[in-house]
């Protein structure tokens, strides 16, 4: 049902382009219509259930009033940024004290995205200036962690450690060739959400660039939630922790009794 709706959305997004292209010569005297980017996701809602091992989502969109003349000569660049809600995080470094590696107090980063993926048609630094990218928070080098690094090399070491560790868990991703144009105005990208994705409302920002300038922007949202039994367990554990603990013990006792009853020899 949902995929059918998405497909309909895709067709709607796609259909105006040829019609407008046909009109274009007629309005040539007036101002050239400004490009606009439209986008949507293959799924608006992800339910994490017991068989969840990660999921791939498709982000697609089109450029309205595309001024690309030939399919293989696109004048546009697209960058897609997917972000999960930010959370505070502490990064610690181990140091050797008396022969043993121990954690030092570390640095707190007040808001680190639980998931961050930047997908683009080509390397982002070739698409726009560093200032523009920084302002928009595009690219792993420009993600805000809610803390100004002020060219402090110590701070930078911690920051890059956070990025490195998140990348290792596939929670931070950057794909230079993640977005592909199909024809003059349609583009698509896919991103893999790993099994350990945090829950919450994700945003997918689609930025359309032309000659290094941001010409249009579009945002869609994605809800990631636990569902069914998993959601029940999760809610119980965090909202009624005592009841959850008692139930866990009762289940364990029952499992123990069942095991004993099944194996007794008398």
């Amino acid at each position: 049902m949902r995929s059918a709706l998405s497909l309909a959305g895709l067709l709607l997004a796609f259909s105006p382009a040829p019609a407008l292209a046909a009109e274009a010569p007629a309005v040539a005297a007036g101002p050239v219509p400004r490009e606009e980017v439209q986008s949507d996701l293959s799924t608006r809602e992800i339910s994490i259930q017991s068989n969840f091992t990660g999921i791939q989502i498709l982000i697609y969109g089109s450029v309205d009033f595309s001024q690309t003349n030939a399919p293989d000569q696109s004048v546009y660049d697209v960058i897609i940024v997917i972000r999960a809600p930010s959370r505070p995080l502490v990064a610690r470094r181990k140091e050797r004290v008396a022969g043993i590696w121990i954690n030092t107090p570390g640095k707190v980063f007040p808001s680190v995205p639980g998931f961050y993926a930047a997908l683009s048609t080509r390397p982002i630094r070739a698409i726009a200036s560093d200032e523009t990218l920084k302002e928009l928070g595009i690219g792993l080098a420009n993600v805000s962690f809610g803390r100004d690094s002020k060219d402090d090399s110590e701070e930078e070491t911690y920051r890059s450690a956070v990025i490195r560790l998140q990348e290792k868990k596939k929670l931070f991703q950057e794909h230079d060739d993640g977005v592909a144009f199909i024809g003059r105005s349609l583009f698509r990208a896919s991103v893999s959400l790993p099994v350990n994705v945090p829950i919450g409302r994700y945003t997918a920002d689609v930025y359309l660039f032309r000659d290094g300038q941001l010409v249009s922007k579009n945002q869609s949202t994605l809800e990631v939630n636990k569902a069914g039994f998993e959601q029940m367990v999760y809610l119980l554990a965090f909202q009624h922790p005592f009841v959850y603990g008692v139930l866990a013990v009762l289940l364990a006792v029952l499992a123990g009794l069942a095991g004993w009853a099944a194996f007794r020899r008398d």
Partner: protein
Amino acid sequence: MFQVYLPIAEISVNLVVMLGLGAAVGFLSGMFGVGGGFLLTPFLILSGIPASIAVATGANQIVATSVSGALAQWRRNNIDFRMSALLIAGGVVGALVGVFLLKMLREAGQAGLIVSLTYVALLGAVGLLMLTESLRAIRRVRAGKPASGRRPGQHNWIHGLPLKLRFPRSRLYISAIPPLVIGSVVGLLTAFLGVGGGFIMVPAMIYLLRMPTNIVIGTSIFQIIFVTAVVTILHASFTYTLDVVLALILATGGVIGGQFGVRAGQRFRGEQLRAMLAAMVLAVALRLLLDLVLRPSELFSIAPIMAGA
């Protein structure tokens, strides 16, 4: 296709691997009368479960294996209930202290270190002690003398303490203070390390209280049910690190393994069991020590900060 998503740990694990891990630990539990947590917790961490979740979930799974283990021991009349009551009373107090200590250390980022150091010190000391003693006993048996070093008339400083009680099942007349102290130390360790505490309770009862080995194993496994149950509830309530889905998978494997373990244990002599347990305890201690001393490949670590903490 055998992947199962864990709602609290927020990762996906292989069902077969986790069942096998539970069964292996359950087998050891039944065989030696230990909870097996000192093996389960490190194994869970090695398989990618966050340390904090491994501790709380380990305690929950030990409830299940010790219930079926204790029933098997009860059928053999190996449980000293009066001794258990004292151990449990001490254990609950120790568990409360342990849960809050762990919560504090975790917030300071030092939980992993202190937990590992405690493991190394305890397992190293207990392992060495048991190994030397059991090897001596095995040599004695080979020389044709009785295996037990227990001499009825022998007294140590424990017997000078007040509040003496009679423990008919263990054939002891000793003070209530040592069982209470042993119980509380073990309760602390259960909450802190995610272990049943058998590896310290068993030698303490054998060497300090001089209880017979078979009664020690039954009594230890019986009291572990209650202390791990309390620890499970405390962790669920205060650290939110209990994953019931993982615990149930481990418990299913553990209960089955435990039954075979009890039978396997009957085939060996007390001193042989102690020597095997000692070797295993030392191996785990060595592994943990290496992790602390060798240069880690990644010096940095990140941890979420709990809202409100």
